[in-house]
Chain length 518, copies 2
């Protein structure tokens, strides 16, 4: 299984058709193929060798898409970085995987000198609009200057990409994804979520996140058309759907709600939409009904996945959103196993399969599962039990094989589709001089699904405002990880063993609703 | 990639829905799962160990389907045998792969004693209707007597199945198919040919052929419903399509023609059909138009594959059967690369890719390609060039990446979807005492696509009738390999190097038509 096979197929079978539409720029698959091969030549000329890591810190763009494939064609490992991270977080990751080259765009050119200095990165590339800084190579100049590089990409178990996620210990972890992981994930996405060469897909997630990159890789395999927005908002999305006749989007339910109920929704022709995949949380019946009325030719599929399983592992087909001859609606479920994926509910931490209906931890196995974390053998060992990946998500499987996610085993918050590990936020808050004790929990949020909430005990005679605590965190963490609310207590509830009882802190927030994570 | 993952998924997510309808017998996926696990227990009790081969010689049935999965669950290698072979041919194959157990049904019970004696097979199972012979175990008795065996199946590069095809040297070759080959082929089929859990598929090809077994494995992965006919004919097919509301068939174009133009076609309700995949040869416009008129809700997709590539490697989507904004009709083509499959046209025998439009041999690479032939390292080496499989099919790729198959590089005839190697037939004819020289070629056939035609030079003063030659062959070869016509000549045309010029023999037969193989 060769990751590059997907792009080669698109070039071979869809050469004269649009590959990517990025603002006013449209490139065909033949153009993308040629540019990728030349850029790969440029990377090799810069000293990139098979197995080297190349980092990308940029907003979504046609150039970004090319860079991902050029890195693979050169036999190197792409590492797309979270654009919402602080410089601290980015620098820590760069030191972890030591890239040979750093690629940035105009949004991150100012961070580049400090990041390169701190991580000792000799070479950098500037892509997209804006002048190329003196100490960098230009993306276009590299393409112009180099002949197409014959393919030297890897295959099978060779490492193809690293995807960094937050870590339970506060240190972010690089999930290793192989050619086999990514190739199977792409064909599985096509099979489960119905991409084709007729799909015109509007990207709404950053390419640093698998919710952005796996549809990118799958749609390339299918030979469809990528539509990019530099910055995603509801009105820009609607304008682009109308103008580019977009057929397929991937949204969180909040975004579907916004699209349907936006005051200017009726001004746009959204009739080209055929399928919306949604994730991160179940969809309410009221939002679904409003969406069906507004978009009568569109269907909705729920997808669930995680970075360690190369995205898609469960999906909820359209017809199971409703009662039918086959049985009741499964809308409250997250989905059932995608193709080739083994799913099991077991006691937390792993073990034998539990009977249907009994809650436990969701375990996964199959060709999409990561071989582990970069440079972190202990964390890797802890993530698996007897060959099964421990997802950290809790739930049960019903009699029809649909998984209902009800809780999270790991102490993690999913806010706006991003994973936030409580420990990482707690570490930052603890560093504030006024803080004696703290606990970070998820509370419900209409907008984000869950929001980061801090419960703090101050040192005797000391205190700080919410704004001070938040600013203190913001200097250390990405914005999405910082608390959105603060609660001050005299003491935290402790178990007999002296452990903080987070369930007690969460209880009043979740009293009238079931915690629905997904 | 675990082959067994597909059945486990079907049991987990479609347990109470019909898995297989075989005449009056219907079994759910839960029942099939339970019976497979118990039968696997029976096989292990009979001494089957991981890696052992288990042969099946039977007509399609629900029991056959179970046996294929039970063998895999026990960690063994299934070898479904061609039901049209002579006892000679079957015995030769059995001696090649030395099975631990032979499974037969009522149609082959009489052959079993001789086959077991000649190949030294200690154990045998009888499945399906009819009394169980004293020296065999019964399929049902094994299921009843044994507890479900915990899964001990292999994965990845472990051998899962052997599929025997005719050989260029006259010795049939066992194509080794791994868990990875079969798993990728199944998900690729779902992605390319649109199987789902709503698919009700009428099997028309024997399970010993990949045109029978790969849809079997793919539909199991999708959790759909298999519909079986013990013996396939047009009227039985139409009756079953109507009765079982079949949605999907795999046919050769001749069969589509029969279905549409059959005198009793109008008596049957075929309105449930949504997709017909066809193969072995392109479809004529007249047949396609008649089929579209008769089946207005049905679409047609062409598929091409070969055993060494685990079936599907090229497909021709429905919309490319017609002229459109995208360009002219591609109906004359065989198709373009399936997902994850690398396709290249190179000089016969392999090498660098030829320019578009230039004819050469079709080469394939990717996760579906066999690691080689069982016990035949020389034939394996000859089948590959620089990591690419040599298909033996000649053709060109057009500017849009569609492959047009125009010739066959190997001296092979494809008759009714079966590969016939000329050499094998010539060897049989040479053994006739009256024959001095002979050549076997393909001639066009309305019914079979191609037919086996023998050109013979008799010894001075000797001769034989067509019937005598055919009967002589029939004693040695499967019926489909025996000549359907005979031409007697004084001498065969020879090249300067003394090689028979088959092109000259073929020319008059193919004068007014392009040889269209696929």
């Amino acid at each position: 299984m060769r990751f590059m096979s997907s792009l080669e197929r698109a070039v071979q079978t869809r050469g004269r058709f649009p590959a990517v539409i990025d603002g006013e720029t449209t490139r065909t698959w033949a153009e993308v193929g040629e540019r990728v091969a030349r850029l790969a030549g440029g990377l090799v000329a810069m000293g990139v060798e098979p197995g080297d890591r190349v980092a990308i810190l940029a907003m979504n763009s046609a150039d970004y898409l090319e860079a991902l494939y050029a890195i693979a064609r050169a036999g190197a490992v792409s590492v797309p970085l979270n654009t919402r991270w602080s410089v601290e977080e980015t620098a820590a990751a760069l030191l972890d995987f030591t890239p040979k080259v750093l690629i940035v765009d105009a949004a991150f050119r100012d961070q580049a000198p400090e990041l390169r200095r701190r991580a000792g990165i000799a070479s950098a590339i500037h892509m997209g609009p804006g002048p190329v800084p003196a100490e960098m190579e230009g993306h276009e100049a590299l393409i112009a200057a180099h002949a197409p590089l014959p393919d030297r990409s890897g295959s099978g178990e060779d490492l193809c990409s690293l995807c960094y996620t937050g870590g339970t210990t506060g240190r972010s972890k690089g999930v290793m994804l192989t050619h086999a992981n990514l190739t199977f994930a792409a064909v599985n996405w096509i099979a489960s979520l119905h991409f084709s060469d007729e799909t015109v897909f509007l990207h709404s997630a950053g390419f640093f996140h698998l919710a952005g990159s796996i549809p990118l890789f799958a749609l390339t395999m299918a030979g469809g058309t990528h539509v990019l927005l530099p910055k995603f908002d509801a009105e820009a999305a609607m304008e682009t759907i109308q103008r580019r006749r977009v057929t397929y989007c991937l949204f969180v339910p909040t975004m579907i709600n916004t699209l349907v109920n936006h005051p200017r929704s009726a001004d746009y022709d959204l009739s080209s939409l055929r399928l919306i995949e949604y994730g991160a949380s179940p969809i309410s019946l009221s939002v679904l009904e409003a969406a069906m009325a507004r978009l009568p030719d569109c269907r909705f599929i729920q997808g669930y996945g995680l970075t360690e399983a190369t995205a898609l592992t469960l999906s909820l087909p359209w017809r199971h959103h409703f009662e039918s001859d086959e049985g009741p609606s499964k809308r409250a479920a997250t989905g059932r196993a995608a193709y080739g994926i083994d799913v099991r509910i077991a006691p937390p931490g792993g073990g034998e399969e539990l009977p249907r209906g009994e809650a436990g931890e969701i375990l996964l196995r199959g060709p999409q599962i990561t071989p582990g974390y970069w440079n972190q053998s202990e964390q890797t060992a802890a993530a698996f039990h007897d060959g099964w990946l421990l997802t950290g998500d809790g739930g049960f499987m019903d009699a029809d094989g649909f998984v209902h996610i009800t809780d999270r085993v790991k102490d993690m918050i999913v806010s706006g589709g991003e994973n936030v590990y409580s420990k990482e936020v707690e570490n930052a808050i603890f560093a504030h001089p006024a803080v004696q004790d703290c606990a970070v929990i998820a509370i419900p949020s209409e907008e984000w699904g869950e929001a980061v909430h801090a419960v703090v005990v101050f040192r005797p005679g000391r205190s700080a405002t919410f704004e001070e605590i938040r600013a203190h965190c913001r200097a250390r963490l990405a914005g999405f990880k910082c608390p959105r609310s603060l609660e001050v207590r005299d003491a935290l509830p402790l178990s007999a063993a002296g452990k903080i009882v987070k369930a007690e802190l969460r209880a009043p927030w979740w009293a009238d609703r079931r915690r629905s994570v997904g």
